[in-house]
Amino acid sequence: MALIAVFLVFPAVWTLYLGITDYRLTGRAAKAPRTVGLANYTDALTDPRFHNALVLTLLFVFGSAIVGQTVLGFTLAWTLRSARGWLRGVVETLVLLAWILPSSVVAFLWIAFLARDGGTLNLLLGTPGTAWLVDHPMASIIVFNTWRGTAFSLLLFGAALGAVPPSQLETARLAGASVLAQLRDVVFPHIRGHLLTNTLLITLWTFNDFTPYLITAGGPNQRSETLPVYIYNVAIYDGQLGFGSAISLIMLLINLVIALFYLRLLRERRS
C-alpha cells in the first residue's frame, strides 16, 4: 500500500512540478534580474517583429496544415480508397516516408531540392538561378510542411472513410448524386469528428513546429520567422531570456486554448 501511494504521488508531483516550474520560471525570468513588471509583455505585444512572427505563423498554419495537409490528405484518402493494392502501397509508403525521416535530413533534402544552382526543382521547371528560399521563403516552408505532414491526415481520413457504410454511398450514386454532393451529404456527417480532431491536432503541431528553422532559420530578414523560430532567435541566440519567456507564455496560452478546445471535444465524443 505504501508503495502504491508512492506510485500515485509520483505522477501527481510530476504534474505539479511541470506546471509550477514552467509558470514560476517564466514569471520569475520575466521579472529577474531587475523587476520590470509587465514591461516584457507590453513590449512583446507592441513589438513589430512579434506581430510579423504571429502573422507568419498564422499563414504557416493556415497554408500548410489547414489547407495543405488536410486537403491533400483527404483527397488522397478519397481517391486511393478504391485503388489497386500496389498503387496504394507505393503512394502511402512515399507519403509516410516523408513523415518519419528525421527533420534534419528532410531539411537538407529540401535545401538541395530548392537549391539555386543544380537544385532539382529549377532543373525540372527550367528556371536556373531561382533562389526559392531567398525569393519565396514562406511559400517554400508552407509547401515543405505540406509535404512533411500530409501522412497523418491521410492515415486518419483513410481510417475514417473505411467506416462510411458503402451501401449509403452506393444509394447516393444510383440516385445520381454528384461526387461533391456525395461528399457533402453522405461522407461528411460520418467523418465530422475525425475532421475536427485532425484539424486541431495538426494546428497544434504546426503552430509549434521548429523545422522551418532548419531550412531558412527565419531569414532572409525575418521573412519566414514563425513564432518558435522568433523565440529561439530572441531568447537563446540573442540571450534576451526575460523577453523570450514573455513571448513563450503568450505562446503557451494560445496552445492552451487550442488544447482545451480539443480535450472538450474528446470528452464529448467519449460520453
Partner: protein, 277 residues
C-alpha cells in the same frame, strides 16, 4: 446512353492517374537525392543515375563527429526510452488499480500539459531550468527533459493497457503472498508487454529525430546527437561536404525506417493513430 458514360469514365481514369502521378512525383522528388547521392562517385546537389561506388562512406569515418554523434543519439534514445517505460509503467499501474477522487481529472491535466508544454513553447523555461540545475551540456539533462515531455502520453496509453488486464491474475498472485513490486514484475509486465514495447519504440523514434532540445541544451560537439551535428555539416565552413551529408543522412535515417516497418507489421497504425488520434 452508353457513349457518354464511357467517355466520362475514361476522363475520370485519366484524371485519377494524373493526380496520383503528380502526387507521387511531389513526394518522391525531394527524396531521390537521398537514394542516389550516397552511392554517386561525384556527389552533387542534383540527383543523377549514380556511378556506383561505396567510397563516400569513407567520409563518415574521416569526420571526427559523425560516428560519435550517432552513438550519442543511441545513448539519448535508449536512456529516454528506458526511463519513460519504467516511470510510465509504475505510474500507469498505480493509477489503473487505485480509485482516488479526481483520478480522471489528473490524467486529463497531464495530457493537457503534455500537449501545450511542447519543446518550442517551453524552450526558454526548460533552458533556464536546466541551466539552474547545472545540467547544461549534460546528456542526463536532455534525457530528463525528453522523458518529461513523453511521460504524460506514455502514462495515458499504458493505463489503457493495464485497465484491460483482468484483476484476478494479480489477486491469485497476492494469495500466494507476492509483494506489489513482484506482482508488477512477474504478472503485469508480461501481460502488457506490447504496450511497453509501443512506448519504447515511440520514445526512440521521437528522440532520434528531435533537434531542438539537444540543440539548445548541448554545446559540446562531442556530446551532440546526429540531428544536431548534421546541421553543422551544411551551415558552417563554406561548401557543404556532399559525400559526408548524403551518407550520414542515409545511415541516420535507416534506424527509424526499420523501426517503423517493424512496428507497422506488428501493431499496425495504432502506433501513431492511437497515441494522438
Amino acid at each position: 446512353m452508353n457513349g457518354p458514360w464511357t467517355v466520362r469514365r475514361a476522363l475520370g481514369r485519366i484524371g485519377f492517374y494524373t493526380f496520383v502521378a503528380v502526387v507521387t512525383a511531389f513526394f518522391a522528388l525531394p527524396m531521390l537525392w537521398l537514394a542516389a547521392t550516397p552511392f554517386d562517385a561525384t556527389p552533387g546537389l542534383t540527383p543523377s543515375v549514380p556511378d556506383l561506388t561505396l567510397k563516400n562512406f569513407r567520409a563518415l569515418r574521416n569526420n571526427p563527429y559523425a560516428l560519435g554523434s550517432l552513438w550519442n543519439s543511441v545513448l539519448l534514445a535508449a536512456g529516454t526510452a528506458a526511463l519513460a517505460v519504467l516511470c510510465g509503467a509504475l505510474a500507469a499501474y498505480s493509477l489503473s488499480r487505485v480509485r482516488i477522487p479526481g483520478r480522471d481529472a489528473l490524467l486529463y491535466l497531464l495530457l493537457l500539459l503534455s500537449s501545450i508544454v511542447t519543446g518550442t513553447a517551453a524552450m526558454v523555461p526548460l533552458f533556464l531550468l536546466i541551466f539552474q540545475l547545472n545540467l547544461i551540456d549534460s546528456r542526463t539533462g536532455v534525457v530528463l527533459v525528453l522523458t518529461g515531455g513523453l511521460l504524460p502520453a506514455a502514462i495515458f496509453i499504458l493505463k489503457d493497457f493495464m485497465d484491460g488486464m483482468p484483476k484476478s491474475y494479480e489477486e491469485s498472485a497476492r494469495v500466494f503472498g507476492a509483494s506489489p513490486l513482484r506482482i508488477l514484475r512477474d504478472v503485469v509486465v508480461p501481460v502488457v508487454r506490447p504496450g511497453l514495447a509501443t512506448i519504447a519504440v515511440w520514445a526512440v523514434v521521437n528522440v532520434w529525430g528531435n533537434f531542438l532540445i539537444p540543440f539548445i541544451l548541448l554545446l559540446d560537439p562531442d556530446k551532440q546527437p546526429a540531428a544536431v551535428v548534421m546541421r553543422t555539416f551544411y551551415t558552417e565552413g563554406g561548401a557543404p561536404n556532399l559525400a559526408l551529408i548524403s551518407t550520414f543522412s542515409l545511415v541516420y535515417s535507416i534506424p527509424v525506417v526499420v523501426m517503423y516497418l517493424f512496428v507497422n507489421r506488428r501493431y499496425g497504425f495504432r502506433f501513431y493513430g492511437g497515441i494522438k488520434g
